[in-house]
Amino acid sequence: MTVTQSGSNRGALDRPSGSSLAEVVDTILDKGLVIDAYVRVSLVGIELLTIDARIVVAGVDTYLRFAEAVNRLDIRNDDTKSLPEFLEGAEESGAEKKVKGAARGALGAAGESVRDFLSPQEERRRSHHGDGARRGGDG
């Protein structure tokens, strides 16, 4: 099993050892000093693989997906609920457990694959050589 891991317990602050690709893209393509504003720079072409990770502007697809998610919901402890809602909820409660379990598994697995992807080189470098740069002697 690959879904068992310690990082994503509910209520625990998740501190991954590396960023996911989407997070790296958010950070280094969107932020940082832009030096071509005042320097003549020759930029080499950047591949389009970075596009996939960008945000989704909410549109009809998103709306339908949310409606679908509403439809999957378990009944709540909610005194405003109507009888049909109540019956529908009772029917769905089994399915809901499965959905939650699956979602949690997917989260965990994603977190783990990122770690797998990032750690080996990172750790080798840290343990054998220390950090990538160090402060020089003079102050």
């Binding site: 280094i28 504003a37 160090r134």
Partner: protein, 265 residues
């Protein structure tokens, strides 16, 4: 402004450019352990001028830039540097055509600004706080708080999909808007928690429809533990509704933009 392909010279793979990662104090030493972009990873060099230095590596200009490895190499180098010394991270993808150009066109005209910025960033690093809603939980909150959403849900229940397309779009849009409102108040909650513990904060655009907050913070080294503990507490409070993730320490990507194009100085 159009780019200058002329700087590349010829189109054969042996022409090289100088990829710029970031700007550091001139006394920062780069060790052999620093890996740049490339396969195998290029050694990282410094170009020094007027008390500041650019971290650079040589890359063939005929090679397309932007693979996953390229992106990761860029961020890893900068994030390793910031644990030792202040650094001004340069946005991914900047290549100058020679080491001389790095000194003469990038460093020398702006050395005062760079030194000043490096001083401001001394003993700080950046973290990114990202909270993401658990979908069933946030949708339950929306239904609890929104009568219209509850009514639409009832209207849709049990009907065939084809018959409820419009209602489902209405419901989904309502949910989406309600989540935006929640995001803005939850982002505010993160800012209120972080502001007393940080030097600066910067709200990022959401990058997922279930984002509850996406905030970059600049933290003094001495306050890192306090920030982490405060976020642990927030994660506990939000356990049933959102996952809280903390990335970092990393280079101050979100805090070097201001002033960069005030370059005339």
């Amino acid at each position: 402004m159009a780019m200058e392909p002329a700087a590349v010279g010829t189109d054969d793979m042996t022409t090289t450019g100088w990829y710029v990662y970031g700007i550091v104090d001139s006394d920062v030493e780069v060790t052999d352990a620093a890996h740049g972009i490339g396969d195998p990873p290029a050694p990282v060099d410094q170009v020094v001028a007027d008390g500041v230095a650019a971290l650079v590596s040589e890359i063939p200009t005929g090679r397309p830039l932007g693979s996953v490895d390229d992106l990761l190499a860029h961020q890893r180098l900068l994030d390793a540097v910031v644990t030792e010394a202040p650094v001004l991270p340069v946005r991914f993808g900047a290549v100058l055509d020679s080491a001389e150009a790095v000194a003469a066109e990038l460093l020398e005209p702006h050395d005062d600004e760079f030194r000043e910025a490096l001083d401001r960033l001394r003993d700080t690093s950046q973290y990114v706080v990202r909270a993401r809603y658990h979908e069933p939980a946030v949708i339950n909150e929306v239904l609890d708080e929104n009568r219209t959403a509850r009514r639409l849900r009832e209207q849709i229940a049990g009907q065939p999909e084809e018959a409820t397309q419009d209602l489902r779009i209405q419901l989904g849009e309502l949910v989406s808007q309600a989540i935006e409102v929640k995001r803005s108040s939850d982002t505010q909650a993160v800012l209120e928690l972080a502001t007393p513990l940080t030097v600066a904060t910067a709200v990022r655009d959401p990058s997922h429809e279930l984002d509850a907050a996406h905030v970059a913070v600049l933290v003094s080294t001495g306050d890192q533990e306090k920030l982490i503990n405060a976020l642990r507490e927030l994660a506990r409070q939000w356990a049933d509704r959102a996952e809280v993730r903390l990335l970092g320490p990393m280079a101050p990507y979100d805090f070097v933009v201001a002033g960069a194009d005030a370059g005339g100085g």
